[in-house]
C-alpha cells in the first residue's frame, strides 16, 4: 500500500492491475480493429452461416450446368465441372483459414522455441541463426514452391513448406527480444534469488515476448493465405478436388475470359480475407505501442521485409 500524497484527488487504480485492461481497451478502440471486425463478421456470415442454408455440396458435379453465370440457384455461378461456385468459394475460405491458422500456430511455436534457445543459450545461437539466415535468403514463394514440388502437392505439404519458410522470421524476432529482456534488471533479480534458467526463460522472458509475437503471427497468417493461393494458382499447392481459393483461380485462369465469375468471387474472398487479418495485425501493433507504431513500421529491419511477401 502506498502513501496517498494527495487525498483530494480521486484514487488511482494500481497500474499493474490495469495494464492488461488498457491493452484490450486500446485494441478494441483501434479503427483498424473495428473495420477488421466488421469485415470478419460479414465474411463468417457469408462463408459459414449461409452455406448450410443454401445447401450445395462443393464436390457434386453436374455437367448440364457447366459454367453457368450467377443466378438465384447458383449465387456465384458454376465452375467448369458444373459445381456450385458459391459453396466452392466458401470451402476454399475454410481451407485457407485452416492453412493460415495451422501455419501461424506451428511457426509461432517452432519459432519461439528456436528463438528462445538461440537468445538464451549462446552455444546454439550461431548455429540456429545461421540456418535461419540461410532460409531467409530465399525468396519465400520460390522456396515454398520448390519444397512443395519436392514433397509432392498436398494440403499437409503446403503447410510444411510454409512453416519452413516462415519460421526463421519468428525465430529471429523472438531471439532479439530474448536478448534484450535477458539484460533487464528484473531478470538479474530473479537470478540472484536463485531461480533456475528454465524458470526464468519460461516464466519471465517468454511472456514478455508475446506481444511482438502476436503481431508477427497475424502477418504470417495473412502471408500464408496469399502464398497458398499463389502456389495453388500455379498448380503446386492444394490438390483438387479439395477446394482452395488458389486452385479455384487456377481452374478459372483457363476460362476467365468467357466466365469471369470464376475469378471474381474467389479473388474478392481472398482480398477481403487478407485485409481482415492485416487489419487485426495493425490493430494489435498500434494498441501495443501507440506512440511508436508509426516509427516501428519504418524501422523494421530488412529481414522482416524479406519475410513478407505481400504481393505475390
Amino acid at each position: 500500500m502506498t502513501l496517498k500524497l494527495n487525498p483530494a484527488s480521486t484514487p488511482v487504480e494500481p497500474r499493474a492491475q490495469n495494464r492488461q485492461l488498457t491493452f484490450s481497451y486500446r485494441f478494441l478502440r483501434r479503427p483498424a480493429f473495428r473495420v477488421g471486425a466488421t469485415l470478419a463478421v460479414l465474411l463468417l456470415v457469408l462463408a459459414v452461416v449461409i452455406p448450410p442454408i443454401v445447401g450445395y455440396d462443393p464436390y457434386s458435379v453436374d455437367p448440364s450446368v457447366r459454367l453457368s453465370p450467377p443466378s438465384f440457384t447458383h449465387l456465384y455461378g458454376t465452375d467448369d465441372f458444373g459445381r456450385d461456385l458459391f459453396s466452392r468459394t466458401n470451402g476454399g475460405f475454410q481451407v485457407s483459414l485452416m492453412i493460415g491458422a495451422s501455419v501461424a500456430i506451428s511457426s509461432a511455436i517452432l519459432g519461439t522455441l528456436l528463438g528462445a534457445l538461440a537468445g538464451y543459450y549462446r552455444a546454439v545461437d550461431a548455429i540456429i541463426m545461421r540456418i535461419c539466415d540461410g532460409l531467409m535468403a530465399f525468396p519465400g514463394i520460390l522456396l515454398a514452391m520448390a519444397l512443395v514440388a519436392s514433397l509432392g502437392s498436398s494440403l499437409v505439404n503446403v503447410i510444411i513448406a510454409l512453416v519452413i519458410v516462415l519460421t526463421p522470421g519468428i525465430a529471429r524476432l523472438i531471439r532479439s527480444r530474448v536478448l534484450a529482456i535477458k539484460e533487464e534488471l528484473f531478470i538479474e533479480a530473479m537470478r540472484s534469488q536463485g531461480a533456475s534458467s528454465l524458470r526464468i526463460l519460461l516464466r519471465h522472458i517468454l511472456p514478455n515476448t508475446l506481444n511482438v509475437l502476436l503481431v508477427q503471427v497475424a502477418y504470417i497468417f495473412a502471408d500464408s493465405i496469399m502464398v497458398e493461393a499463389a502456389l495453388s494458382f500455379l498448380g503446386a499447392g492444394v490438390a483438387p478436388p479439395t477446394p482452395s481459393l488458389g486452385n479455384i483461380l487456377y481452374d478459372g485462369k483457363q476460362v476467365f475470359l468467357t466466365s469471369p465469375w470464376m475469378v471474381i468471387f474467389p479473388s474478392l474472398m481472398l482480398i477481403v480475407m487478407v485485409m481482415v487479418v492485416n487489419f487485426f495485425g495493425d490493430a494489435v501493433r498500434e494498441a501495443l505501442d501507440p506512440k511508436a507504431s508509426r516509427r516501428r513500421w519504418t524501422q523494421r529491419s530488412k529481414s522482416v521485409w524479406l519475410g513478407r511477401f505481400s504481393n505475390v
Partner: protein
C-alpha cells in the same frame, strides 16, 4: 568502412553455404531418383543401378554434395530430367521475359509510390491521406496475379489495347516488347506500390518530425525545398532497402503472373518443371534467383555504407 564491408562479406559466404545445402537437399527430399527419371519407367532395375553408379548416386551424400557444389562453381547445374539440355541453358533461354517484367514493374511501383507517399505524408489525416491509406490496405491484400487477371479481362479482352498472351524479345523492338509486358508489369507494379507507398509515407513522416526540419522551416526555407531538398534524401534509405528487397518479391511475382499471359519466362518453366517433377531445373531456378537476391542485398548494404555516414559508424 572496408572492415564493415568485409564483415558483411563473411556473413554472405555462410549464408551462401546454407543456401547451397538446402538447394542440394531438395532433390533428396523429393525421393526422386535421377537415374529412374532419366531412363524412364520402362528401365530394368539393373539398368537403373548401372545408371546410378555412372551418375555417382551410390556415393555418400557428402561426396555428392562436394561434387555438385564443384559443378556449381564451374557453372554446371546438371542436366534437366525432361529436356536433353543442361539446366543452365534452359534457364538462360527463359530469363529475359521474367527479368523484363520485374524491372518495368519496379519502375511502375516507384513512379506511383514515391509521389503518393510524399503527398500523403505532407497532408497527414487529410482526405487525400485517407484515400492513399485505403489504397495501400487494399493493395497489400491483393495478390499481383489476381489484379493481373482483372487487367487482362478489361484491357486485353474487352478493349483489346494490349495482346492477351505471348512475349516479344527486346531485340525485336522496344515498342512491341513494352506492349507485351505492359499488363503483367503494371499489375505487379501497382500492387507492389501499395507497400512502397506505405513505406515512403511513414518514412517521410518520421523525417519531417525531426529537429533539423524545424530548423529549416524556421530559417524560412520553402515547403518544397524542405520536402525535396532536406527530407526526401533522409527518407530515401528505407525506400532503397525496399527497392532491393522488392526485386525478390517482383521476380517471384513475375513468375506467377506471367503464367496468366503465357509469357515464356521462368514462371512457365517452373510450372512445367513442377508438373514433371524436373527437380534439377527447379534447383537451378531457386539457386540462381536466391544468389542474385543475396547479391542485390549485398550491393544495397554497401550503398548504405556509402550513402549514410551513420550506418558506417555503427558498423
Amino acid at each position: 568502412m572496408l572492415k564493415a564491408m568485409f564483415s558483411r562479406l563473411g556473413g554472405l559466404i555462410v549464408v551462401l553455404f546454407i543456401v547451397s545445402i538446402v538447394v542440394f537437399l531438395l532433390l533428396y527430399i523429393s525421393g526422386g531418383d535421377a537415374a529412374l527419371a532419366l531412363l524412364g519407367n520402362t528401365a530394368t532395375p539393373e539398368q537403373v543401378a548401372a545408371m546410378r553408379s555412372s551418375l555417382g548416386l551410390d556415393r555418400p551424400l557428402m561426396v555428392q554434395y562436394g561434387d555438385w557444389i564443384l559443378g556449381v562453381f564451374h557453372g554446371d547445374l546438371g542436366q534437366s530430367f525432361y529436356r536433353r539440355e543442361s539446366v543452365v541453358e534452359v534457364i538462360f533461354s527463359r530469363l529475359e521475359p521474367t527479368v523484363s517484367i520485374a524491372i518495368v514493374a519496379q519502375l511502375v511501383a516507384l513512379c506511383i509510390a514515391v509521389p503518393l507517399g510524399i503527398a500523403s505524408a505532407r497532408r497527414v489525416n487529410s482526405t487525400l491521406d485517407g484515400i492513399v491509406t485505403t489504397y495501400t490496405m487494399i493493395g497489400m491484400a491483393t495478390p499481383g496475379f489476381v489484379f493481373a487477371l482483372l487487367l487482362a479481362l478489361v484491357f486485353a479482352f474487352q478493349l483489346q489495347w494490349f495482346p492477351l498472351s505471348g512475349y516479344s524479345p527486346l531485340a525485336d523492338g522496344v515498342g512491341t516488347w513494352l506492349r507485351f509486358i505492359a499488363l503483367p508489369a503494371i499489375s505487379l507494379g501497382v500492387v507492389h506500390s501499395a507497400l512502397l507507398t506505405r513505406m515512403t509515407r511513414s518514412s517521410m513522416l518520421d523525417v519531417l518530425s525531426q529537429d533539423f526540419i524545424r530548423t529549416a522551416r524556421s530559417k524560412g526555407a520553402s515547403s518544397l525545398r524542405i520536402v525535396y531538398g532536406h527530407a526526401l534524401k533522409n527518407a530515401a534509405i528505407p525506400i532503397v532497402t525496399l527497392v532491393g528487397v522488392g526485386f525478390a518479391v517482383l521476380v517471384t511475382g513475375a513468375l506467377v503472373t506471367e503464367t496468366i499471359f503465357n509469357v515464356p519466362g521462368l514462371g512457365k518453366l517452373m510450372v512445367e518443371s513442377i508438373e514433371r517433377r524436373d527437380i534439377p531445373v527447379i534447383q537451378g531456378v531457386v539457386l540462381l534467383a536466391t544468389v542474385t537476391f543475396i547479391f542485390i542485398n549485398f550491393v544495397v548494404d554497401v550503398l548504405y555504407l556509402i550513402l549514410d555516414p551513420r550506418v558506417r559508424q555503427s558498423a
